[in-house]
């Protein structure tokens, strides 16, 4: 690695030195209380996969260039220079982390390890060694925002097909307008994903509830955030923000996708509309009596996996549980659950990478948890989690069914 490059990388670190970052970089005592709290470590017990192990990879480099001790006496704090080996370590640390923040609640100081790893991610991007898949997906998403008008017709056409399916499912006479697009003044802008299921099931629920809604042109997921590129993250998020403002909606409802919910809800600052998860909306419709579900329609034992971004990082714990407890007769909790729930291993964009064997291993904690409940159906409310739960299911040859909460509700509407 030449000096020019190193200088450019050091300059990148500077861009991430916000107030919380400085706290997190300085205050770790390496007490080790976090040591075994990462699901990856549970499956692959190596120091590199412990939260402190990951954080130290970043911290050592920071010390080398930003702390007097690292400059004068590097061995004092094990300060390390940026070189190709360090970049490899950063890659392994950052893109084996799902950003679940389970370590954060096991840290006496509350150090946010994924936040620290955002330094690793900007360095990898600058170095040109960030995962290609995520770079490609983020670039595609940004481009879609730039030239959406070119794609509208093709999209509109397939949405018409989906309307027919919705009509069939809810027994409507005409499919027209069952999935509104660009409806000005609608109450809700719903942001789905690329897959048909992520639009059809919510559409059934919205129609049953008689909601005033419209479907977004964009997918909710933010690959810029997974990649760790703050600028792309903002541009991808802005697509929906601008769309919502232009349509004048009161509420933006996000499909089952944890990151897509957390970003507008908590990370963008104040927005002129309310941000809700589809799970919260279903819960609200049930409470208001706008939709009804077949009580205890599911007889088999069922358990719920808290998506980290929806639970620990957004606080939507009780809504999914109340919904599920009314649908199913035998609801079982995983242990631990809620804030302490184990991450399934699918977050952080990891499911987009070529790493299935790694994800099977890092899904070991989740596998053990599911087995302990004895449940036959595992429900979650995040596309990444569902994806990863399917990987765990096939990886460990499990006799379970993995289901999305929205899908389960849509199938059991009274």
């Amino acid at each position: 690695m030449d000096n020019e490059k190193r200088k450019a990388l050091i300059a990148k670190i500077k861009t991430r030195l916000s107030r919380p970052m400085r706290y997190y970089l300085d205050l770790c005592t390496r007490c080790g209380l976090c040591y075994d709290t990462c699901h990856v470590f549970y499956g692959i017990p190596r120091k590199e996969y412990s939260p402190v192990g990951r954080a130290e990879v970043v911290r050592r480099i920071y010390k080398k260039y930003f702390r007097p001790s690292g400059r004068i006496f590097p061995s004092w704090g094990d300060a390390k220079e940026i070189d190709d080996h360090a970049m490899d370590e950063l890659l392994d640390a950052a893109f084996s982390c799902t950003g679940c923040r389970r370590c954060m609640i096991h840290c006496p100081f509350g150090i946010d390890t994924p936040f620290l790893l955002s330094i690793a991610k900007v360095l990898l991007i600058e170095n040109g060694t960030a995962p290609e898949e995520l770079t490609m997906l983020a670039d595609g998403a940004v481009e879609k925002g730039e030239s959406i008008s070119e794609f509208k017709e093709g999209y509109r056409e397939v949405i018409r097909d989906l309307e027919k399916e919705v009509a069939k499912r809810i027994g409507a006479a005409s499919p027209d307008g069952l999935i509104p697009l660009e409806k000005k003044g609608a109450d809700i802008l719903f942001v789905g994903l690329a897959g048909a299921h992520s639009i059809v099931n919510p559409a059934i629920i919205f129609n049953k509830a008689g909601a005033s809604w419209t479907l977004s042109w964009f997918e909710a997921v933010n690959f810029g955030a997974f990649l760790g590129d703050p600028e792309k993250m903002q541009r991808i998020a802005d697509r929906v923000v601008k769309e919502a403002i232009a349509l004048g909606v009161k509420e933006v409802v996000i499909v089952e996708c944890g990151t897509a919910y957390r970003i507008p809800k908590f990370l963008l600052g104040p927005l002129p509309f309310k941000v809700s998860s589809i799970v919260e909306v279903i819960h609200r419709y049930l409470k208001e009596g706008k939709i009804k579900i077949k009580e205890k329609a599911v007889q088999e034992a069922l358990t719920y996996h808290d998506p980290c971004q929806l639970g620990r990082n957004a606080g939507v714990y009780e809504e999914p549980r109340e919904i599920l407890q009314s649908i199913c007769a035998d609801y079982r909790e995983m242990t631990p659950n809620r804030a302490f729930n184990w991450c399934c291993g699918g977050g952080g964009g990891l499911v987009a990478l070529d790493n299935e064997q790694f994800r099977i291993k890092s899904g070991r904690a989740k596998y053990d948890q599911i087995v302990a409940t004895g449940a036959k159906i595992v429900v979650s409310a995040c596309e990444n989690c569902i994806f990863q739960l399917d990987t765990i299911k096939s990886g460990y040859s499990m006799d379970i069914e993995v289901k999305s909460l929205t899908e389960l509700v849509a199938e059991n509407l009274a």
Binding site: R19, P20, D26, G32, S50, S69, W76, L267, R312
Partner: protein, 238 residues
């Protein structure tokens, strides 16, 4: 020659240490406060009520450690509690802090117990780091700081125990320390005769030397956790 070294440690180095401590922390605060605040909130859920009290409470009670490792928790609480008492005790050695003597009492309420607790807990932290997996995540700083604390405590504790219980012919009375610290505080520094004249002077010098090092390293080491913990806990609750 040694007289000069002792003098340097006992007076100029103390001022240097305090200045390094204060300026170091000040610079650190300026750097932190001039760093941008990210938009949005980075809380974890469920959010507990009483943000400030909660943050302070968690910093002092360390429930995370209690859940995970009871012995470690006990040592953390013992160490930090004793450290706080130790700090107060040293303030009491400065006559000017008379508010601490509103209810008159003998200085060093712990009667030597505080020092013992600190030594035991520091040794526990140190030996814990000799075992896996803590050994693998430790860096030299972790051992060296504990060693430094151990050395400071062992000499300090010896001075305190010996003078209180009159052990080993230790002949420096508590008032000699009060005189010395007060003189430093009032910027009219002098090492009291009671200390200089004693054959145990060297022990006092060593204690002060290690304490100086501790103060000088404080802003530049992981010891800033004692300050930043509150800020980090507040972010978790924002």
């Amino acid at each position: 020659m040694w007289d000069k070294v002792y003098y340097f440690i006992m007076i100029p180095m103390v001022y240097l240490a305090v200045a390094t401590f204060v300026l170091g922390l000040l610079v650190k605060f300026i750097i932190v406060l001039s760093s941008p605040k990210p938009a949005g909130t980075y809380a974890v859920f469920p959010k507990r009520p009483l943000r400030f009290i909660g943050a302070v409470g968690e910093a002092f009670i360390v429930p995370v450690a209690f859940r995970k490792d009871k012995l470690f928790w006990l040592m953390i609480i013992a160490f930090h509690g004793a450290f706080l008492l130790l700090f107060l005790g040293h303030l009491e050695l400065i006559r000017e802090f008379i508010f601490l003597q509103i209810i008159p009492h003998k200085v060093f309420l712990g009667a030597g117990f505080v020092g013992i607790v600190l030594i035991v807990s520091v040794l526990y932290f140190l030996f814990r780091r000799f075992t896996s997996p803590w050994r693998e995540i430790s860096v030299p700083e972790d051992y060296l700081l504990l060693l430094l604390l151990f050395l400071t405590f062992i000499f300090g504790s010896h001075m305190s125990l010996a003078s209180r219980y009159g052990i080993a012919g230790f002949d420096i009375p508590l008032d000699a320390y009060r005189e010395y610290l007060s003189s430093l505080f009032t910027r009219n520094p002098a090492i009291s005769q009671g200390i200089i004249a004693s054959p145990h002077y060297v022990l006092v010098v060593l204690h002060v030397f290690f304490a100086n090092l501790f103060l000088m390293l404080f802003p530049f080491s992981k010891m800033v956790h004692s300050v930043f913990i509150f800020a980090a806990q507040l972010i978790k609750r924002k």
